[in-house]
């Protein structure tokens, strides 16, 4: 099956009347996503690609059972739109928007915890589950095919590059999640791993990481403490990049020595994660892992 979204997940598109949102809505519908409604203040009553549009999330929820929402909303409006969704009791949000202000994102994450909801992103192409014929976002569906690999990635374009190679090697995917390129995101690598662990179809997980942040180290932690028993492979971009020079001490104190490429790789290796130096190596490791 999948994690997080399924063939019967009812999806709302916020900001559905925008040009990009219309385009992606059509692609999602074509792949099989169960889009039941859209919103756009002032556009209530319109129909976009056969999907009814409402003025507010509340209106949409009065007329439909909604399980997930995708926000195609400009950065300045993300906080308010997301809170609207959380207050309506919707438990899965995909925020594709880039450049969401950090302080807005912190408020959002707090509301998410209060509502016990899941936020994918911000700054993500979303997620796709080929076996469930469901895509929430805008990954190019043609490179994806059903199979045993779970994929979680911090980078959109790098995901497409790696997944197309997995598919070419005969390794389909159970679910691929773009966790988002921002430092503060909702669903993190460790959360994704715990969900993949419980999913029967997923037999191995590929993490596509990057320099910076502490998500890779947290992933290493849940593998090391035995919560993850499936094989995990990691490919990290930026291992020849020079370490940035930090301003001030505060970040370093909070991160406690994590974040550099060297410490990430070491933490992953210590936990028993296989770390690939090149994309081709990651594909070979995945092949071995699912035998």
């Amino acid at each position: 099956v999948s994690i997080l979204a399924f063939r019967d997940t009812n999806v709302l598109i916020q900001g559905i009347t925008g040009r990009a949102a219309r385009h992606h809505t059509e692609n999602m519908l074509a792949f099989g996503t169960n889009i039941v409604a859209g919103t756009r203040p002032g556009a209530g009553g319109q129909i976009v690609s056969g999907v009814p549009v409402y003025d507010s999330v509340e209106d949409a929820c009065r007329n439909h059972q909604i399980d997930a929402s995708i926000l195609f909303i400009p950065a300045k409006g993300v906080k308010d739109s997301a809170i609207e969704v959380l207050n309506a009791g919707i438990e899965l949000l995909v925020i594709v928007t880039e450049h969401v202000p950090l302080h807005d994102a912190m408020i959002l994450m707090e509301k998410k915890r209060e509502h016990d909801a899941v936020i994918i992103g911000p700054n993500t192409p979303g997620m796709i589950s080929p076996p469930e014929k469901t895509i929430l976002g805008f990954v190019p569906t043609r490179y994806f095919t059903p199979g045993p690999m779970g994929v979680a990635s911090r980078s959109g374009t790098l995901t497409y590059e790696l997944v197309s190679r997995l598919t070419a090697a005969g390794l389909g995917q159970s679910t691929c999640i773009g966790v988002g390129g921002d430092r503060l995101v909702g669903l993190r690598f460790a959360d994704a791993l715990l969900r993949f662990e419980k999913d029967e179809q997923t037999r191995a997980v590929l993490l596509v990481g990057e320099i910076g942040g502490t998500m890779e180290e947290e992933a290493a932690e849940v593998v090391k403490n035995g919560q993850i028993t499936k094989p995990v492979i990691a490919y990290l971009a930026g291992h020849t990049a020079p370490d940035g020079i930090k301003l001030g001490h505060a970040g370093a104190i909070i991160d406690g020595g994590r974040g550099a490429m060297k410490t990430k790789i070491q933490a992953l290796i210590d936990a028993g994660v296989q770390v690939a130096r090149q994309p081709a190596e990651a594909i070979e490791m995945a092949k071995q892992a699912v035998g």
């Binding site: 950090l102 790098l158 001030g248 104190i253 090149q278």
Partner: protein, 382 residues
């Protein structure tokens, strides 16, 4: 986005946190003048976006106008991590009775701001974290720092004096609340006072301050968008890049890279460096269409350092043929001197390939192959 110490201090002072008496100097003469008006001794502090100034000798003390002038002359124009020092902050030198550390930053795992309070300020403050001299206070974003929480921080900072010196605790509490308010109102990623000093008769004074603003919230802080360590032209160029959706960083190699997506671009740099190639830049363009790729090529035009440009196209949401047209537009108009290597895969790959072959460019399908080829032609091996 980093800002200068003097800008941070302007913000602190406006908010009501005490800072040393000071002035700015851009020349040795100005430094002597400012120092004289403050009274000696003074501190001369080079203004740089990268800190670690103390160890680099960029903080100096002067006892006389002549010494201030000489020291300023030696500091101005010096290089520090790629920055040229153009501005000095000249401050009264204070007698410190104690140095504390107070910082606010974001715990990205927990998704909340954290107030860090240290009883021992200074440059080795990280090392005090384990010794019980540093405490972290997590804040609920929607509630902000509560007065009672600020009180707790103040009591911790005051240490042995917490019980005997109510005035100190009160002052610290005010500074902490003000600092947190500034952190939120100014959309900061990090704000730090190190040291926050105790000065006899004067109270609590922010002797040094550092701040990082959230680049994604600059629209809420228009008064803080201004050139820093760059010419007006560089500032305008940076703004132009931002508007075009380019993330661009110049490197010192000879192979230009035109790609979309930060992750894949970093992966290309890795592959290139691992094989001994030297990338000339990092460019991540969000605008991958015919016009966007044509525009991005302008970055490499007339750059004598560039021997080769490697274009990576993996068309998922866009189309190879459109991008190939963009490459053709550029080549036919400018006939550049550099070698061109194109990696192309994805939507409408065959059509894209045909367009490029018409103008004598054979695209390569595999990323690794394209990187290898770019290194080969740069070294004249192919």
């Amino acid at each position: 986005m980093r800002i200068y110490e003097y800008e941070t201090k302007e913000l602190l002072s406006e908010a009501g946190i005490a800072i040393p008496r000071s002035g700015l100097a851009h020349s040795p003469g100005e430094a002597a003048e400012t120092a004289s008006s403050l009274g000696f001794p003074v501190v001369l502090k080079a203004q740089t976006l990268v800190k670690a100034r103390g160890k680099a000798g960029l903080i100096q003390f002067a006892e006389s106008p002549k010494q201030a002038e000489e020291l300023a002359a030696s500091l101005l124009g010096r290089e520090h991590h790629g920055e040229t020092i153009k501005t000095l902050l000249v401050e009264e030198k204070l007698d410190l009775a104690g140095e504390l550390y107070l910082g606010i930053a974001v715990d990205y795992t927990a998704g909340v701001p954290v107030v860090l309070a240290g009883r021992a300020g200074g440059i080795e403050v990280e090392e005090t974290a384990g010794a019980g001299l540093m405490r972290k206070f997590h804040v609920t974003p929607s509630l902000g720092l509560k007065p009672e929480q600020a009180g707790e921080v103040a009591l911790f900072l005051a240490g042995d004096e917490a019980n005997s010196n109510a005035e100190l605790v009160k002052q610290l509490r005010e500074v902490i609340l003000t600092l947190y308010r500034l952190f939120v109102e100014r959309d900061m990623e990090m704000l730090e006072l190190n040291p926050l000093a105790l000065v006899p008769q004067r109270g609590v004074i922010a002797v040094d301050g550092a701040a990082v603003l959230d680049g994604d919230a600059l629209w809420r802080q228009p008064d803080l968008v201004r050139p820093r360590n760059q010419t007006e032209a560089e500032f305008e160029q940076e703004k132009d890049h931002r508007n075009r959706g380019w993330s661009y960083l110049q490197l010192d190699g000879d192979i230009g890279i035109l790609s979309s997506g930060a992750g894949i671009t970093m992966a290309i740099l890795d592959l290139m460096r691992m094989q001994g190639g030297r990338p000339a830049n990092f460019l991540d363009t969000a605008q991958m269409d015919r016009k966007g790729i044509y525009d991005a090529f302008q970055l490499f035009k007339g750059d004598a350092a560039i021997k080769t440009v490697l274009v990576n196209i993996f068309a998922g949401l866009n189309r190879c043929d459109h991008l190939a047209e963009g490459i053709k537009d550029f080549l036919q108009e400018f006939h550049p001197d550099f070698n061109l290597v194109v990696r192309m895969a994805g939507n409408r790959e065959e059509e894209g390939k045909r367009i490029l072959e018409e103008i004598g460019v054979t695209p390569i399908r595999e990323l690794e192959g394209a990187v290898e080829k770019a290194i080969e032609v740069t070294e004249g091996r192919a």
